[in-house]
Amino acid sequence: MADPVLAVRGLTVTFPGSAGDVRAVRGIDYELQRGEVLGIVGESGSGKSASATAVTGLLPASAVVDGSIRLDGEELIGLDDARMAKVRGKRIAMVFQDPLSALTPVYTVGDQLSEAVRIHNDVSRQAARERSVELLKLVGIPHASERADAFPHEFSGGMRQRVMIAMAIANDPDVIIADEPTTALDVTIQAQVLEVLRTARELTGAAIVMITHDLSVIAGFADRVAVMYAGRIVETGTVDEVFYSPRMPYTMGLLGAIPRADESGDRPLVPIDGTPPSLVDLPAGCPFAARCPLAFDTCREVEPALIAVGSANHRSACHLAEKIEAGGWGPTDVFPLPDLPEAAAARVPRAERDVVLEAKDLVRHHPLLKGAVFKRQVGAVRAVDGISFDLRDGETLGLVGESGCGKTTTLLEVLELAAPQAGRIVVLGRDVSELGQSERRAMRRDVNIVFQDPMASLDPRMPVSDILAEPMRTHGMSGAKIQARIRELLRLVGLNPEHAGRYPQQFSGGQRQRVGIARALALEPELLVLDEPVSALDVSIQAGVINLLEELRARLGLSYLFVAHDLAVVRHIADRIAVMYLGKIVEIGEVTRVYESASHPYTQALLSAIPLPDPHKERARRRILLEGDLPSPADPPSGCRFRTRCPKFAGLDEDRRRRCLEEEPPLHGMDDDDHAAACHYAEALKVV
């Protein structure tokens, strides 16, 4: 084998702290060949970012780094800052997660790129400028020479990430370290950025270390994978080995916990009980033992070494790896599958069930005002522009779309329980515009919300008991009843009633979200509105919360309006799905129909952009890449709103294009009654 471009040996990173040293990385080894992509996967707190930051030498001065990091044979640990600065940006480049804070807001993008070029090369200002325009072109920024003079805030998130990649490849680096480069982005933009990273690798021949929490992202992108847990690599091998024959229970759990966009939601997800251990004082033995269903006595005493199983390059840190290998066990053999009850309502045909929520031609425009003293309206952001849907008893409607499509506005509009600007909202058979003050208050018992961020949605100054008591007190329940109900609720969501006196920050993310769900259930609502309830959680925790939501729906006969940008999660939990684009529903229907035979080009693009945790499928897939970003909702395109980015529109002749330009396509039914798409030339296509 050729000499590796990057070799990490026995790397440890320790952050000294008052409560004890945080051992973020506890001895990891990996090698990176030229042009290779290594995916490092792990949940938050697994040490994946700390290990990568150590390579760039950007850890805070207080961190103690030990071991060896060799770049082309040259030792990097112990280099002083001045010499490290020569390596950084020139031979090792970095792409960060948040492209907004990684660019300086007060300099133009061109200036920042030129700076990156000029620091490592003795070239004239003019030459550096030309090079930066060239780089912007490379990463697919349209009108690069004009856009070079724009400031970072004038770029969208995806465009900014492209600029970051341009900066990373400016000096032909040997290694690019990408730290969650697509986490903050929408799926269609994520697909674009991954494509740019691929191009960047081809152009520079650089090796890439891709750090992510999302196994799906690396399935089609990486050559090799390293799974990290509690500061160590617990399994490593080629993508195929790790994805198709995982030999460490943690990897298996992770793979089983991911909802898949190409599988129907009948399979319950595999939740991993518990939370990752504290890195301050790790128990002896395997750090995963406490959460592992296979753990036996040795696991709690001796930490397993990373040893080869199967092939020489596939290594796993598990005492039972040989046994798993011999038995060919998969995730479902190792982890007990939860038994989810079936909803009673599901047995009744949909048409016969009661309508819980109905929106008809719902409109919400935010006025754009100008002027300091006398404000006049200069336009309107058409956040929601005439959408209709209905939600029946015991059903989950998934509302999906990219950020800015109006899905959250729709949900808030429903929760206001007030007359919308135009259109109608009917909740449980009552038109909300006809409700009086007290009736509206009474109706709030029936409609409740679970928010995205479990940290922000619980008042940090209130103990859990008070958080749960608040809705009940507001609706006049007696003290003794409330006390009993708090215990009942905590048990219902799988928490211990003993912890009612704790504050939200004493819980982990998944537990906090459970508290949020318990609060929403306090008044026994009929309809639960869920605003991205799992997107802030780690994969293994997310599976538990999704299972809980499904179980509660079946047991309590709830209906869910589920807003999410993750289409895999939606496929898993929803019965029906509505896809939104620029304030309009472009496709709606029964979930398997929409996923199996997506008919609107936008839905097709969205679905084809979702990464699958399946390397073979990923490599064989053809992605429909969308051009550019979402147009401004203040000034949507004429006719069909999607035409500016539509791959189908691009392939139409003049005559047929005119229809897209002039006429707004209505939602019309596809072959059967519960599937409709808003496209003049709708055609079913299987993309996942």
């Binding site: 504290s278 919300i449 008042d459 507001t474 004493q506």
Partner: protein, 309 residues
């Protein structure tokens, strides 16, 4: 945020022995204020501050009965005498008993300091949070009023108004002082409220049907309590000191009545030569401010669950 996960991990489903459940139902779930009280009691310094504060009040209101002199008496046999058995804190140039004077001054200053702080911070919290939370014309008119008051020179207004109140109770003075101390804080509170208003837990409460005023008292004010408590503790000393300034110019507490402020002002010139004229009053002011600070810090930590106690 840095809660060790061994504390939190252990409560997932399936790990709970069933026998425990029945026993649990008997224990009462602690509510927010009983938790805050428990956390406050655990803070030793805060409890010490509270004890000092109670002691100062007892001294001010019970102490005068222990001494043999009143603050209006003059002992013509003892001018400018140091502390003695007869005059515990010494005497002034005119034979006044410093002990009696100091206690009399304390009665005024304790009440002025603490009342002014409570009124001004309370007013700031109310006006700021309602303006910030309600928005619209309520916000505009309240802030317009605050800006107007900020522009007016407070000293001038009090000077103009004080003849009207001459001879009336000095408590009017408390109201006047408070009226000019809350303005800047109100603006800060408003700003913080506007950012809190968008938080999801406030939205959650709104969608539960919790009325606005209750959201303000239950969610907004507790979350800015750190600022309010710091503001109130600073206001205690600010009120005592600014009262001195006003008294010096002939408004506020007038001779023969005294306050800690006037005593300190009178005693400053002779602080080095006749230290008892200055030392006792100043010492008590320091003790007062310190005690209020300790109590404030304790309250802040008790209210803030992230403080780790």
């Amino acid at each position: 945020m840095s809660v060790p996960s061994d504390q939190l991990a252990t409560i997932l489903p399936g790990q709970r022995p069933d026998g425990e459940e029945a026993a649990l139902d008997e224990t009462r779930i602690a509510s927010r204020w009983s938790l805050v009280l428990r956390r406050f009691r655990r803070r030793r310094l805060a409890m010490a501050g509270l004890v000092v504060l109670v002691f100062l009040f007892l001294l001010a209101f019970v102490g005068p009965y222990l001494g043999q002199w009143t603050y209006t008496d003059h002992d013509f046999n003892a001018f400018l005498q140091g502390p003695s058995l007869d005059h515990w804190f010494g005497t002034t140039q005119t034979g006044g008993d410093v002990y009696a004077l100091t206690l009399r001054g304390m009665q005024k200053s304790l009440v002025i300091g603490i009342l002014v702080a409570l009124i001004s911070t309370g007013l700031a919290a109310l006006v700021g949070s309602f303006a910030g939370y309600m928005g619209g014309w309520i916000d505009r008119s309240l802030m317009w009023f605050v800006d107007l008051m900020l522009v007016l020179p407070s000293f001038l207004i009090i000077a103009i108004l004080s003849p009207t109140f001459r001879g009336k109770t000095w408590l009017v003075f408390v109201v006047l002082l408070a009226a000019f101390l809350w303005l800047v804080t109100a603006r800060i509170v408003r700003g913080m409220t506007i950012s809190l208003r968008e938080r999801e837990y406030v939205l959650a409460a709104r969608y539960m049907g919790v009325p606005a005023h209750r959201i303000i008292f239950r969610h907004i004010l507790p979350n800015i309590s750190s600022l309010l408590i710091v503001d109130a503790t600073i206001n205690v000393s600010a009120a005592v000191i600014s009262e001195t300034g006003l008294s010096y110019f002939g408004f506020g507490v007038q001779p023969p009545d005294v306050s800690l402020g006037t005593l300190i002002a009178d005693g400053t010139q002779s602080a080095t030569t006749y230290p008892w004229l200055f030392g006792f009053a100043a010492g008590i002011l320091v003790a007062l401010v310190l005690a209020v600070n300790l109590v404030g810090d304790g309250l802040r930590d008790a209210l803030d669950p992230t403080s780790g106690f």
